[in-house]
Amino acid sequence: MHIQIRKFYYGDIPEENTGGATPINHSTEQGWPLWEVFIRSKQGLDHKHVGSLHAADAAMAIENARDVYTRRQEGVSIWVVESKFVHASDPADAESLYEPAADKIYRHPTFYDLPDAVKHM
């Protein structure tokens, strides 16, 4: 007889009541706001988005970012911005926003054919 066992991939156990602890009351606790973290990895480089974290205020966000994102000297400067203040373009507008650039190849230096005799250009 072929026995069928429910399969899940490592790291993905199916959602169902397979036992465990007894349910607790869900908390009504107000959570800390979400912050986006930007790190300058080296003097002279841009700050780059590295991820996000929760913190009660900006000072704590910077402290937490130090612990979470720079444990191995990944940065020399940190910016944090509360996530709710970030405005983003709509992925649905991607075509109208970015595709017009595709046919403007004259914006690139390689568009121009120059004789080899022209040096330093």
Partner: protein, 315 residues
Amino acid sequence: MELYDLEKKFQEKIEKEIKIEPRDWMPDAYRKTNLRQISQHAHSEIVGMLPEGNWISRAPSLKRKAILIAKVQDEAGHGLYLYSAAETLGTSREQMIDDLHSGKAKYSSIFNYPTLTWADMGAVGWLVDGAAILNQVMLCRTSYGPYARAMVRICKEESFHQRQGFESLLVMSQGTEAQRAMCQDAINRWWWPSLMMFGPKDSESTNSDQSMKWKIKRKTNDELRQQFVDMIAEQIKLLGMTLPDPDLRWNEERKHYDFGEINWTEFWNVVKGNGPCNKQRLEARNKAHEEGAWVRAAALAYAEKKRVRTTAKVA
């Protein structure tokens, strides 16, 4: 656009290896599967701190203690990267934590085994982190952008975890008779649970492999498990120890190691909550969360007080 077209376009992006980002359209089931997998992964990192945290105060030297603290702190960081990635799919941190604490959400069963001796710290680093790394390296190429980025960061930090574990066992394997026995005992206890980490066999399911089609997962359980066995079967020779499997032998034809059958009854028992430490782990998590409640509330109150003061000053 029709739902059918959206799904077709979505699948085309997947085929072309274009990552899916939080605000892109995605099928509901894709969102759900990712949310479940990423949050379970986050919970595993967090609960995974418990068996090792157990030995921090009893590490045999200052050097080993510093290493263990650094590793456990890394795991906390991994949990945070992953919770953040999961939050981009539209569930709050509080909800996920609640689901973990109520027992509704799962985490890797491996952390429901006890760490009984100091040698377990070596065996966990070498075998458990070793198994996790194979999965995580694969997940660096997963299709959901935030998950893949978290994995890249995690993988950079993981390799020290496995190396320190192996090195710790190597030192023991060259030690006294008692240290050698302790080393072998830890390997004996952690070997089979580590193999179970990869989940049920590929052949024992009729489920459609949607996760593979969506490129959330890129290798099957058996592929990853075989990769792990081949790796460990060679490494153990350097320890002069053995793996507790009489059926383990090199198969010249397959160019892989053959190995014995996993105890699937034990596997399902632990998944269902009846492992040696399931109860203890959840109790420890709940206790920590409850005892930290006043700290979280105080931090919020303090932030609010500061905010009111600065607004008053400006006005």
